[in-house]
Symmetry: D2
Subunit: 153 residues, 4 copies
């Protein structure tokens, strides 16, 4: 039944599906922002349970069987679906916000600095230093307002 | 700079952007499944902090100013971006998994039952009852394997 | 200033301190169950951030400096303090509940079974198997009520 | 069987019980810091599930039946027990750290300011303002080291 994959699945499609799902079941009234947020936290808990006793897990999960992978896909999806629904109910355009956040992160962690720091095995220190600058950056926003930050970007 | 919104933003686009972002900064080695999972939990914490002292919040966040909305969009995005990255690193096609999960949920919570239960103010009991069936359903999967479950769907 | 340690710190002492702290600052009205729960989730996020980029961490944290240890102690404490406060606000005797839960766990995971399973490197399978029994146990409670479960214990 | 309550339950008692529990079952090897942290996140998820569809919940949970209260006590306990175990495995004296954190919080949120701010319905702004000072305070620690901070307190 499922033919589409990452390539074609937009956040908008998932938003529409979740909205339709809730409307058909009269669940709109229980889908308040904080209800959905706690449901999201619940799903993050289930996602964590999958990894909790495994120790460090290599990329690509080479030792996991098909059943474990399917289960993982379900828990990742539960988190995503509640996140999409929460954003919709809050009136946030999640796709637009995510693209903007990638741009903000690119400003916060410039390529050159990160790379040299990383090659010197100082990634953690770099993180710390940049997070101080990052806080300064946030402080500018707090002091001068979001519009200033927008213009900056 | 940001022109696209939900309509056109695919999970694949975000996956590509995150992969490129990590590669450019030599961060691939620190993007292990459990590192990313804990980073995701950290972002869920920051998302929760936005809502923590607000009491119940109505849909659409009518009383929130622009700065608060932008901040919320950033935290929702952080959760999304780590979720997309975690899925990629685990080799899970998140878009495909999410569409499949919507279908599974439709089987688990049929429209007719949910609606009548809801109209009788018994949504919670309905949830409980269905979660028992849901567990039975999971037990079938555990006993007879994932392929059986696939065929069933 | 701080002289006491684990030996003498009771959950009741922390409950009293948190209640007094909130009362002195007129914070009682914002300490609703779900506000405190979201604050707890926020603190769990901060705790996770400490561990997020570290890969596997050995017991006793041999490579952590004093500053990192103090920071960790603060985040662990924040989780504890909100947990104690949430329990108090919900009218749950956390100490009593915790001792009872240890007893329930002892029934759920008997020593002999766990040990032999563990020695055969099958801890995970054992977990799975016992969680099915665990669910059956929960189902008994759902069907026959909590009192039955109490008597059983 | 359970006679003790909050009054007499120390963090040390719970630490001893958890250590003994793990030792008897040969679980020490799976109780690494990050395994326990993810298990804690899993339990926080289960705690959130209890509250997720309930909307705002009044203090004391007047409408909850005995079964729901017992269930809540179990999930609160699961979070506590993993928190105590995680602290022990990390070599952190949780009781001592918690008492110190209460003192730090008292410095961060002085009674007089909080009360007047609160009475003017500006609790949120006060939080924000103090969190800036709080960051400044953390910055001092980062710059001059933990000992300086200790002396200050």
């Amino acid at each position: 039944m499922v033919k589409e994959g990452d390539q074609s699945v937009t956040l908008d499609l998932l938003k529409q599906k979740m909205a339709e799902f809730a409307r058909e079941r009269d669940w709109d009234k229980s889908h308040s922002p904080r209800n959905l947020l706690l449901a999201l936290v619940g799903e993050v808990g289930e996602l964590s349970e999958i990894f909790q006793w495994k120790g460090e897990v290599p990329k690509g999960l080479p030792d996991w069987n098909e059943e474990e992978r399917v289960h993982l896909g379900e828990e990742l999806s539960d988190v995503l679906l509640y996140l999409v629904r929460l954003s919709d109910i809050c009136g946030i355009d999640l796709g637009r916000a995510a693209l903007r956040k990638v741009q903000l992160n690119a400003l916060k962690y410039p390529v050159s600095l990160s790379k040299s720091a990383s090659s010197k095995n100082q990634e953690w220190r770099n993180f710390t230093r940049w997070s101080i600058y990052g806080n300064a950056f946030d402080m500018i926003t707090i002091l001068f307002g979001e519009k200033c930050r927008y213009r900056f970007i």
